[in-house]
């Protein structure tokens, strides 16, 4: 009923190819965007910004980058965290070497470095596939984290070996560093994430996206119909690493404020991979749903006992939390192996024909 598409006639090809051909989708998106751009910034507390809104956005962006590579182009990667690290360190070096640089520009540029590194580590994908490629990207993971530790130029020979975000100004307000207000940081993150999401949606719908999907589904067939596999795989690595690198720069500059090399170790790669898998490989929406489940839900569950007045030890809550999130992941993957995005697609299809399923 709510989702009835009857009567929405398309009279031109342009209308039929619009981003959201169903009017209700566009309305829903408008509501979500209003919440993200207007209502959350007005109502959210500092805690909500720092533990829910900002990290969910950043993790969703990182997962989106990985999804381009793994979900759309079918190249399995376990090096996401290392590429995030490249973005973060590149951004740190640019900011400290060129303090006059606009921080948002620096964040967007830092992805270029990770794209370059990503392409280099993507070259093996031309010869090896599947799990073997995963091992090759694992090498990137270990090598780059080692490099972050050993190459002291990267962290300006700081005695503690960590990078610290300085206070960065743009148009007279602090947008990063300890002096920055959470709401400003949130807007910067939201701007970058919205921009790159729009880019990704359009990329995956266009020629490049179709080339990737063909490569993913059957690379020999794709080659036979004239797709250049090298170009297809390397662009996927480049664009994926670019997005992941920008996410890494945001991760340190807009959220954590300081980072040591082992932050970018393999657990972060797995976390991003889980978000992408549980959200749904080969989907953009899924990344956001996955990030809400993996990043947001534990925070909310941690608050729950206190909110309903149950006295439990903090350590116990943490143990329960791990168990609940673990079982939810298993539950969702049994109910819908293709992730939360597929679950939403199913619900939406049912809604469109409801209440007359035949």
């Amino acid at each position: 009923m709510l989702y009835r598409t009857a009567g929405q006639f398309k009279t031109s090809y342009k209308a039929d190819q619009a981003l959201f051909p169903v009017r209700q989708d566009a309305v829903l998106l408008a509501i979500i965007l209003t919440f993200a751009w207007v209502i959350f910034p007005l109502t959210a507390s500092e805690f909500a910004f720092q533990t829910l809104l900002i990290p969910i956005m950043i993790y969703a962006l990182a997962a989106m980058g990985l999804n381009i590579l793994t979900g759309y182009a079918g190249q399995l990667s376990l090096g996401t965290a290392a590429f995030m690290g490249v973005g973060a360190y590149a951004c740190y070096k640019m900011i400290t070497l060129m303090p006059w640089l606009n921080p948002v520009v620096a964040i967007l540029l830092s992805g270029v470095f990770s794209a370059g590194i990503g392409v280099v580590f993507g070259i093996p994908s031309l010869r090896i596939k599947g799990f073997y490629l995963a091992i090759a990207t694992l090498a990137a993971q270990f090598f780059l984290v080692w490099l972050f530790e050993k190459w002291s130029w990267l962290y300006n020979d700081n005695a503690s070996g960590a990078i610290q975000v300085p206070n960065l100004e743009m148009f007279g307000t602090y947008i990063a560093g300890p002096q920055a207000a959470s709401v400003t940081e949130y807007y910067v993150v939201l701007f970058v994430v919205s921009l790159l999401t729009l880019l990704c949606i359009n990329l995956t719908r266009g020629t490049l996206g179709r080339t990737w999907k063909a490569t993913r589904d059957m690379d020999i067939a794709a080659e036979l119909i004239g797709i250049n596999l090298m170009k297809s795989k390397l662009t996927a690595f480049a664009i994926s690493s670019y997005i992941v690198g920008v996410a890494g720069a945001l991760y340190v500059f807009m959220w954590k404020g300081a980072a040591e090399p082992n932050v970018f170790d393999i657990p972060l790669s797995f976390q991003v991979l889980f978000i992408a898998i549980i959200g749904g490989l080969g989907s953009i929406l899924g990344n956001f749903l996955g990030a809400i489940l993996i990043v947001g839900l534990p925070v909310i569950l941690n608050l729950l006992p206190a909110a309903i007045g149950v006295q439990i030890d903090s350590a116990m809550v943490e143990h329960l939390n791990v168990m609940i999130i673990g079982s939810l992941i298993i539950f969702f993957l049994i109910v819908e192996p293709h992730g939360l995005a597929a679950l939403w697609r199913l619900i939406r299809e049912k809604l469109i024909i409801w209440p007359f399923p035949h």
């Binding site: 919440f35 805690f47 829910l52 070996g161 206070n167 300890p178 954590k256 404020g257 909310i300 350590a315």
Partner: protein, 430 residues
Amino acid sequence: MNKLVKLATATLIAGVTAGAAMAQELYTPNLSYRTGPFAATGIPLMNGQADYMTMLNERDGGIGGVPVNFEECETGYSTEKGVECYEKTKGAAIVTQPWSTGITLQVLPKTNVDQIPILAPGYGFSPMMDGKTFQWAFNMPSGYWDAADMIVQYLEGQGSLDGKKVAFLHLDHPYGKEPLPVLEAAAEAKGFELLPIPVGLNEMQNQASQWLQVRRERPDYVVMWGWGAMNAGAITEAVKTRFPMENFIGVWWAGHDADLRLVGEDGAGYKSISWSYPNQDAPAMKAVREYVTDKGMTKSNPEEMTGVFYGRGIVMSAILAEGISAAQAEYGTGEITASQLRWGLENIDFTQERIDELGLTGMVPPFATSCANHTGNSGGWMLEWDGEKFVKASDLLKPDTAGYADLVAAASGQYATENAPWEMNEACEG
């Protein structure tokens, strides 16, 4: 659907943070880690801290008549959870106890804006000693640079260091790298060769290659900056490679009874510098047993309670309690604010008389903090494992802080420039 969840959360959080500030109490949250890879070392410390505060609540009804709410927020030693806990508690908290060098580094610049004191007893960033620059951060009674200096002093006491070789086995992490500048300066001044051997976070449990290097290089001494699983790994490897244990010295976080109990007699002679000692006969320890243990209010167990780390937890809480009561006396109010507590922590005077009065005899050396000195540089004792427990193996060692005053000034100056605009406490003298 997701927006509903988010909205519900926002209201939920607003409710929780508002509710926490209501009751009349001193809210001193602890960012504990009873889970995760470092839980084994975390639990006795957390238990010691919590039990001392419980004892004060039971015996005296809190501090100055106001009960202490020593709530724990579990981080599992993860910096992400640490930030979550910091944001969750900062609304009502009068102090934050970050409990990891990583979390301290992240929280340090924020406390200057949020104006909440960080209490990091014996850990964190060594230049925090400079109270003028780090006006909200405290790492009394001793910092890592003190520890490095005292270890060098002790080694010198065993004979001239000229021409000797000292291996520095450390965790390859901000924490492990912390004492390097002081050790490097000492190596140059005293003429010994310093050989840093890093242990990666992934190699903590398997240090075969590091100890192979020790065997090849044949250092006269091994100094260790280890934590968590790294300590047990290093100690068992040292026993296996038959390194003379009396030449093996750890920092205070590498002196955990359970790690040494693994090797028992074979570990006899291993040393650890420490600013705390678990004196079982101290009145405070007896009070904890009477008011907390006997009533079944502790999470600890008798074996753990005799250990060095549990005793250290007691001392940490005693320092915080002393800061609180100093602030209460100064401002004439029971319920102090975060900035009043900062004054209290800056004016702790742990004289020997005061230590005896608090019942901490022999558990902590005398020290005093000031506006300009947030560490206090208490010094410490060299503890030695006798095969069953740690015993004091030296008189009180005092760090020669003048030796690295320049380093402190340079490091804190650099920190302030990097984080500009950084508010300094100009009111401080000295």
